[in-house]
């Protein structure tokens, strides 16, 4: 299936790239040797605990901490009243300790540091808070109405002053050109990341007032900046902040922002003068770690008789919850499928984020893309049917093509959408299986995602330092973050390939803001592309130095020399050969010699979105197609996934095993989102904050997933690779909804697609 990339010369035959290298961190992880934040202990360390709000919306009348303070073993009790104000979130509307008012159940009202977690917990219970309950609002549409309770009085409105809007072409014109139009509303629930490792951190001040934070963050450098601001609030301007990244027990976007608990831990460490650790319990993780934002989407699309899409018009309302984190910016990514998934000339997109007294949301794998793609791709099937065109043909007619420039001004380089569509069609046996009704059905959905970074900040860069030692080994200091996606392994492969070494010769170091350069964080599926290019260019510099030295030493023209299998060879002279470690020693141990150390900072050639929200904000785009076959029990509404095919154009699979890992993991997460995941909130309170009642897929629930890797070779990617972290979950839900339609003739427009909804829809169909 994969388009193979022919090696150009003998030494271009890859030794590491394209190999199925098991993840380098896997051995330690499965043996319990990995140090997660939960495992880290520092001398004299205290334990922090937070007192959460008892109400979704209430005035704080008084907080009495005296009893807690008297409990032996308690070292500090802090509230918004006895600490300087620190606010977090990108619009700084979230005070880390609440004063005067609480706006959601997960509001931080007070915190304690104590000798043991048990004492901290006991102390929390001794804090007396008097509240005066306020009327709450829990539905974004109600929150927009005149007279609705204001969540933030100072903002004057519950609608966030962050209006999202994008216009391409002329939607009214597109409507006129359409022979068929479908208009519908889709609804998506609150879901959460369910990281195996719960959130937590340790904060520690040295004697001079410099701060070290140990944290499994996805954004070492942005977090460092946020914590620096906290130091300013504490009157510690000019003191230093260092973030040490501990092993990340899953991220999926949850650790892409800084949150009140981190600042609270810093405050507790500051006031006690001792290291303080604060780690969420599983229950806290469910309600106090922000998840994916719920969305209501009104969408219409139209096409001509020939099946060409003429317009797409989308309006969305996002429940922003009580405070603002990255959830409020997901419309910037929703624009991507809305403008650029298939060729659509006329587009209108508007979105509002509305405050409610619900819990707030942040980034989660796909960053808005799954919600938007669910609406777009579900509706495409309805539109295709209306136009009398097979849904697969319909997608082929409108598919994206290599080299096109989309209405949002994305410059599409490589694009394997056609190959993905063809692969899924074949694997699903589309023609034989489709349209049989009778409880069995097939469905597909395509997707687009950024695959070459995303210029969200003014810099989308990533730094690398390479140190080559006297034994032929390399220390690769990268500012990337590996939260399980396999960056460590892929970066080692890239460097090993370029330097003619083996993967095990490369030690990847990614942990300390003092050691590595800078990076925008592990988001936007960017690490393989951005950190990969950074590592590749650094390795090229090192190679250049090695070859230059070898050329002088061996008196061979540099152009003839190459590195492979830990050896230096000459193309023309079989007599010339030397082990790389020997060569490195020769370069070092001589007069004026040195170890080779190089650095590189790579920032992809991209643009920030302009005022109209247009511009080529990624250096490459990843395409993919999900296909599923389902069997639905018409009486119970239970869905059995018989088969799931995920075909992804990854440019080049640097490590096919790791790509399959992403496809299967994304598939599992996508199936959960499609079929069972939902945080149930009742008046702002999470009802099912545990793994019994918040259902994710278990191993016995997983269908076989067939991964198809399509390689289109992207000119800009490292060895042709594009990002693949988020895409594998994006198309799952619409593919399943489309298969359910094929099986039963009912359209489920609200996730998750539960048996209850199917039974109700079938009854509705019978009734009509």
């Amino acid at each position: 299936m994969a388009k193979t990339l022919e090696p150009k010369t003998k030494e271009m035959e890859f030794t590491s790239i394209g190999q199925r290298v098991p993840k380098l961190d896997a051995w330690d992880k499965v043996q319990g040797k990995t140090m997660y934040i939960h495992d880290v202990k520092l001398p004299r360390m205290l334990h922090g605990k937070i007192l959460w709000s008892k109400y979704a919306h209430a005035r704080i009348v008084s907080i009495d901490t005296s009893k807690a303070e008297q409990l032996p073993g308690v070292r500090a009790v802090i509230t918004g009243y006895n600490t300087p104000e620190i606010r977090c979130g990108f619009i700084k509307d979230n005070p880390v300790l609440k004063k005067d008012k609480v706006r959601q159940y997960r509001d931080e009202v007070a915190a304690v540091a104590a000798d043991t977690p048990e004492i901290a917990e006991e102390a929390i219970k001794l804090i007396d808070v008097v509240y005066e309950e306020l009327p709450g609002v829990f539905d974004p549409e109600e929150a927009m109405q005149e007279g609705a309770p204001l969540i933030h009085e100072d903002k004057g409105s519950n609608v966030l002053k962050l209006p999202w809007k994008m216009i391409c072409g002329d939607v009214e014109e597109g409507r006129k050109q359409a022979d068929y139009i479908v208009e519908e509303t889709y609804k998506l629930p609150f879901v959460t990341h369910c990281c195996l490792g719960t959130s937590g951190c340790i904060a520690q001040f040295d004697a001079k007032g410099n701060l070290t934070v140990y944290s499994p963050t996805q954004i070492r450098y942005l977090a460092q900046k946020d914590f620096q601001e906290a130091l300013n609030a504490l009157g510690l301007k000019g003191k230093k902040v260092k973030v040490i990244q501990t092993a990340i027990g899953g991220g999926f976007g949850s650790k892409l922002d800084t949150y009140p608990f981190e600042f609270i831990t810093i405050l507790l460490a500051y006031y006690t003068g001792r290291p303080v650790k604060l780690v969420y319990s599983r229950e806290e993780e469910f309600f106090a770690s922000p998840g994916r934002q719920p969305v209501r989407a009104k969408i219409s699309q139209g096409c001509t008789k020939e099946g060409k899409l003429t317009f797409r018009d989308v309006e969305m309302i996002l429940d922003n919850g009580a405070y603002t984190s990255w959830g409020a910016t997901t419309p910037s990514v929703m624009m991507m499928p809305i403008s650029s998934l298939y060729q659509v000339p006329n587009i209108r997109y508007v979105a509002k984020c509305v405050h409610t007294n619900n819990i707030y949301s942040t980034a989660m794998r796909g960053y808005g893309n799954p919600q938007a793609t669910f609406a777009i791709e579900s509706q495409l099937d309805t539109l295709a049917e209306k136009a009398g065109i097979d849904p697969w043909e319909f997608r082929m007619i409108n598919r994206n093509k290599p080299g096109e420039i989309t209405p949002q001004k994305f410059e599409v380089g490589s694009c394997g959408m056609k190959e993905c569509l063809e692969a899924v069609k074949e694997k699903l046996q589309w023609d034989e299986k489709r349209g049989k009704g009778n409880g069995r059905g097939v469905g597909i959905a395509s997707l687009i995602h950024v695959g070459g970074g995303a210029r969200i900040y003014k810099s989308d860069g990533c730094g690398t330092i390479l140190k080559l030692d006297d034994f032929g080994k390399v220390s690769l200091l990268t500012s990337a973050s590996d939260m399980g996606q396999g960056s460590e392994t892929v970066l080692a492969q890239i460097v090993a390939e370029e330097l003619g070494l083996h993967v095990e010769d490369v030690d990847v170091i990614m942990k300390d803001t003092n050691l590595e350069i800078w990076d925008a964080g592990a988001h936007a599926s960017r690490s393989t592309f951005v950190a990969g290019n950074s590592a590749l260019y650094a390795a090229r510099k090192a190679k250049e130095e090695i070859l230059e030295f070898a050329a002088t030493m061996l008196k061979e023209p540099k152009e003839n020399l190459y590195l492979r299998d830990r050896m230096l060879y000459s193309r023309n002279n079989p007599e010339v050969s030397m082990t790389i470690d020997k060569l490195l020693r020769a370069a070092h141990f001589r007069t004026n010699g040195r170890q080779i150390v190089v650095s590189e900072f790579y920032d992809p050639p991209t643009q920030m979105l302009d005022r109209e929200m247009k511009g080529n904000f990624s250096a490459a785009y990843t395409y993919g197609v999900h296909g599923v076959e389902v069997e639905v029990d018409k009486e119970t509404g239970q869905i059995k996934i018989l088969k799931m095919v995920i075909a992804m154009d990854v440019g080049r699979a640097i490590n096919p095993m790791a790509v399959e890992g992403q496809l299967e993991g994304g598939g599992a997460m996508g199936l959960g989102y499609s079929l069972m995941e939902e945080l149930h909130l009742e008046k702002g309170k999470v009802l099912n904050g545990n793994f019994l009642d918040y259902k994710i897929m278990t191993f016995p629930d997983m269908p076989p997933i067939e991964s198809v890797i399509v390689e289109t070779y992207d000119e800009k990617g490292p060895f042709g690779a594009k990002g693949i972290g988020e895409p594998p979950l994006v198309g799952s839900a619409p593919a399943i909804a489309n298969a359910v339609w094929d099986a039963l003739g009912v359209r489920i427009r609200e996730l998750p697609i539960t048996p209850e909804k199917i039974v109700a829809a079938l009854e509705g169909k019978k009734g009509s």
Binding site: E118, M697, P755, E756, V759
Partner: protein, 293 residues
């Protein structure tokens, strides 16, 4: 989490004495898969935990005179592996097959499942259908409680102060009986049922229903027999149509609730849908038993 004292008595007598001495502040501990979770969640906070694991005899299964006796400390995994139960009491094997996970089944006990009296307990409906009798030992000696008198509502049982469940006695099923338990859940593992349906069928040679038992859990506050539906089926030919009607009658006898887990309406519909399915499987098992001779 509250601290507690942990005891490992070596006889029932000793255990009963410990319970008597510490009254309300003591709790029995079997596999701990319910109790320890509740202690961690601070739903219960006993000062004394009395483990049953070292008391001899509680982990035994005995089949004699056609009666099956399952010790209170028998784990779900032991039941799952017992060929005799799978053959003769298929519905009980069905109930443990998808209970929790292998790890849970390795420690969780049938006694704990029953004494915890959760409406979602998977062995409850099968044991009610089987007409089990619970042998209980306490300060005043031994007594036997029919299972349908044992459950008093969610989390409540007929156990008195100091009483311990010793074993569960299951009377022999009539010759040629077939049975089935359907756990209707969202997931295949690590999930509690939304509804539990237990059916036992005893046909005569002409495939007319000689006896039928239908027990439901989560169809009301406690597990119960759908007696009207049972009466309706008895004496009728075992056809799909008859069972469909029986299902509808059972719906009328039920009073399920709505929660975020599912709706009462869906539960009602599933009672009507799944009773005929449980009956069909039971019938297949009758046939298989006959073919086996």
């Amino acid at each position: 989490m509250r601290r507690f004292t942990y005891y490992e008595p070596e006889s029932l007598k000793e255990a009963i004495a410990l319970l008597e001495k510490n009254g309300e502040t003591a709790r029995l501990l079997a596999g701990g898969t319910d109790l320890i979770v509740e202690i961690k969640q601070e739903k219960k906070s006993p000062d004394h935990l009395v483990s049953l694991r070292r008391i001899p005899g509680l982990q035994e299964m005995d089949f004699s005179d056609g009666e099956l006796c399952i010790g209170a400390m028998v784990t779900h995994r032991m039941i799952e592996k017992a060929e005799l139960i799978r053959d003769k009491y298929s519905l009980l094997a069905d109930a443990v097959d998808n209970l929790g996970s292998v790890q849970v089944r390795n420690v969780a006990t049938i006694g704990g499942n029953i004494c915890n009296a959760a409406p979602s307990a998977d062995t409850a409906a099968p044991l009610v259908a089987l007409g089990a009798r619970l042998v209980v030992e306490g300060p005043a000696g031994e007594r036997q409680i029919p299972i349908d008198e044992f459950f008093k509502g969610p989390g409540k049982t007929d156990l008195g102060a100091g009483e311990i469940l010793r074993c569960i006695r299951i009377p022999a099923l009539p010759q040629g009986a077939g049975s089935c338990y359907i756990k209707h859940a969202r997931r295949k593992a690590m999930d509690l049922p939304l509804l539990g349906i237990a059916v036992i069928i005893v046909p005569d040679a002409n495939m007319v229903c000689r006896e039928a038992r239908i027990a439901l859990s989560l169809a009301g506050p406690k597990p119960f027999r759908a007696e009207q539906a049972e009466a309706f089926v008895t004496g009728k030919p075992l056809s799909e149509e008859v069972w469909k009607q029986a299902g509808e009658i059972a719906v009328g006898e039920s009073n399920p609730r709505s929660s975020f887990r599912t709706t009462a309406a869906y539960r009602r519909k599933m009672i009507g849908t799944l009773i005929p399915r449980a009956a069909a499987v039971s019938l297949q098992r009758v046939n298989r038993a006959w073919m086996k001779g």
